[in-house]
Amino acid sequence: MFKRSEQDKRPPVQIFVDGVAVAARQGDTVSAALLASGVDARRSTAVSGAPRLPYCMMGVCFDCLVTIDGVGNRQGCLVPVAEGMRIEIQKGKREIGR
């Protein structure tokens, strides 16, 4: 859906999406890294289970919710990636209290 421009010279950052290593760049938000990676990052909604991807990328739509390093319901579009960060795509109601 998206590709990186060649002029982007930012250093690479490795994150893990559902356990799989994914290449990101320093300064990417989690949502941008997911969309750039080509992995299936669709979450499913808590109400009907419908698939969603980020819609606004500016912190208002909450369609980018992901679990980041074990903390659920984070807005992926507001969180920068960090080396070794572990992302889980949320399916349905977030499971609390694991």
Partner: protein, 472 residues
């Protein structure tokens, strides 16, 4: 990395580091006031100057000169003593000017003598069939990725809607080597006539020549279809095609990405939750705060600057930020106001920056069918409530958005009505034959962004409550 505010009390707390917030915080700090700037994003700039300090797009022509103005604002802020905290989400503000802010998973409380809200705008909801499908995003979302990560569309891409940002985005995508298959212009034909009386002001505004050359640049490379009267996205779990009607003729094209945009509207959640009075703006078709000439709201001590005060664009936002900050300085330390630009100068700057706005608002007034959906089209994305659901509730007695919540939970999801509120107001107004002002809006409450129970539990408690627990 995340640091809590250094103090519990500030003279001025500015919320939002877009053009208005950057200018307000710099002005306030320059006058010697203890100033805190809280911003939710990773770096300064807000939406229009997003990633201004970090963008990987190094060729300055690609993002355009209007973008790089933001660098000067950041420099001016950094030259002063304002305390700046990014990735700081303000989740509560009340009429006592008590502010709750979440930073790095922990909440802190600060108190201000003056608050300047510079929470900016968000893109108007564009509730067409299929707008919740993966692959449908806002144009602003694509622009955010372009500015902050140099990402551009490379699949089959359709841009639909209207307004200056749409053309700017298209130009930027093309300059960075991205792909656009088609642009679907939803501007109503009648708007051109309606906007004509305001055209003179626009012709003499800075928007005019830039806008025209950008449209020319885009139209040279992309097929543009104008006069779109219907628009829908479809696909099974993922966008597959976009269909539209233009000139009475329906066409369906395959697509991987649909970028929607029909203007921006004030981001009112924090201001409304603080009790600031808002009114329906019939021209801009949104809620705008009731403000005096200095940006002061109905809540003593809270001023609003930038697009949150009513859409005026980045140049106006900067000036509004300076005006609000100057008013705060005049109130708190009048002597220091002397070294700031005179209010009269600022007001004339503002008039200049706002020139041509009425023309744009009239020309790009979104068509009713793209604001007020019907049938199975989703209105509330969080709770997955359709237009039909809303109308059914009206039929059994829901009279306004707040009553509707009891029937359908619209606006009660995490986005707190940001993506459905305007649609619900207009839909109910139409169904009940009332004005949007009469129908009203959701009563918004903190937290304006969700916080975890654990984070709230860790907040320092008041003495009375500690005692109450001991007593129990």
């Amino acid at each position: 990395m995340s640091v809590a505010p250094k103090r519990e009390d500030y003279d001025v707390v500015v919320i939002g580091a877009g053009p208005a917030g950057l200018a307000a915080a710099a002005t306030s700090a320059e006058a010697g006031l203890a100033t805190l700037l809280l911003d939710e994003n990773i770096g300064p700039g807000g939406q229009v100057f997003r990633a201004i300090s970090s963008t990987p797009v190094t060729d300055r022509n690609q993002l355009g000169t209007d973008y790089w103005v933001g660098a000067d604002l950041v420099q001016a802020l950094r030259a002063g003593n304002a305390e700046v905290i990014h990735r700081a989400t303000v989740w509560s503000l009340d009429r006592n000017l008590d502010i709750a802010v979440s930073i790095g998973g922990a909440s802190a409380f600060v108190k201000a003598k003056r608050v300047i809200l510079a929470t900016g705008a968000l893109e108007r909801p564009f509730p067409i069939p299929g707008w919740t499908l993966p692959g449908v995003m806002t144009a602003g979302a694509a622009q955010t990725m372009l500015k902050s990560s140099a990402l551009v569309p490379d699949g089959r891409t359709v841009i639909a809607g209207q307004g200056p940002l749409l053309w700017l985005l298209a130009a930027q995508i093309l300059r960075l080597g991205g792909r656009i298959d088609r642009i679907l212009d939803t501007t109503e034909r009648g708007n051109y006539v309606a906007a004509l009386p305001h055209a003179f002001a626009f012709l003499t505004s800075p928007y005019f020549t830039k806008g025209l050359s950008m449209m020319r640049e885009v139209k040279a490379k992309v097929q543009v279809v104008s006069g779109i009267t219907e628009l829908a996205a479809s696909g099974d779990g993922q966008l597959a095609s976009v269909s539209y009607v233009a000139g009475g003729k329906r066409e369906t094209i395959p697509a991987d990405l649909l970028l929607l945009h029909q203007g921006v509207v004030p981001n009112v959640n924090l201001a409304m939750a603080a009790g600031v009075e808002h009114r329906w703006d019939d021209l801009q078709l949104c809620w705008s705060p009731v403000l005096d000439a200095s940006g002061s709201s109905s809540v003593a001590g809270i001023a609003i600057a930038g697009d949150g005060a009513g859409i005026g664009g980045a140049n106006a936002a900067v000036v509004r930020g300076r005006i609000a900050a100057r008013a705060a300085v005049e109130a708190l330390t009048p002597a220091a106001a002397a070294k700031l630009p005179a209010m009269a100068t600022l007001r004339s700057d503002l008039a200049k920056a706002e020139r041509g706005r009425v023309f744009l608002d009239t020309l790009f007034r979104p068509a009713p069918q793209f604001r007020i959906p019907a049938g199975d089209t989703i209105v509330c994305r969080c709770e997955e409530v359709t237009a039909k659901d809303v109308l059914d509730s009206v039929a059994i007695g829901a009279t306004g958005p707040n009553q509707l919540k009891a029937y359908r939970r619209t606006g009660m999801g995490p986005c707190q009505g940001r993506l459905c509120g305007l649609t619900v107001t207009e839909l109910m107004a139409q169904a009940r034959g009332k004005t949007p002002q009469e129908i009203g809006y959701y009563r918004l409450r903190a937290p304006v962004k969700p916080i975890t129970l654990a984070e709230l539990a860790a907040v320092p408690k008041s003495e009375d409550d500690v005692k109450a627990v001991v007593r129990g």
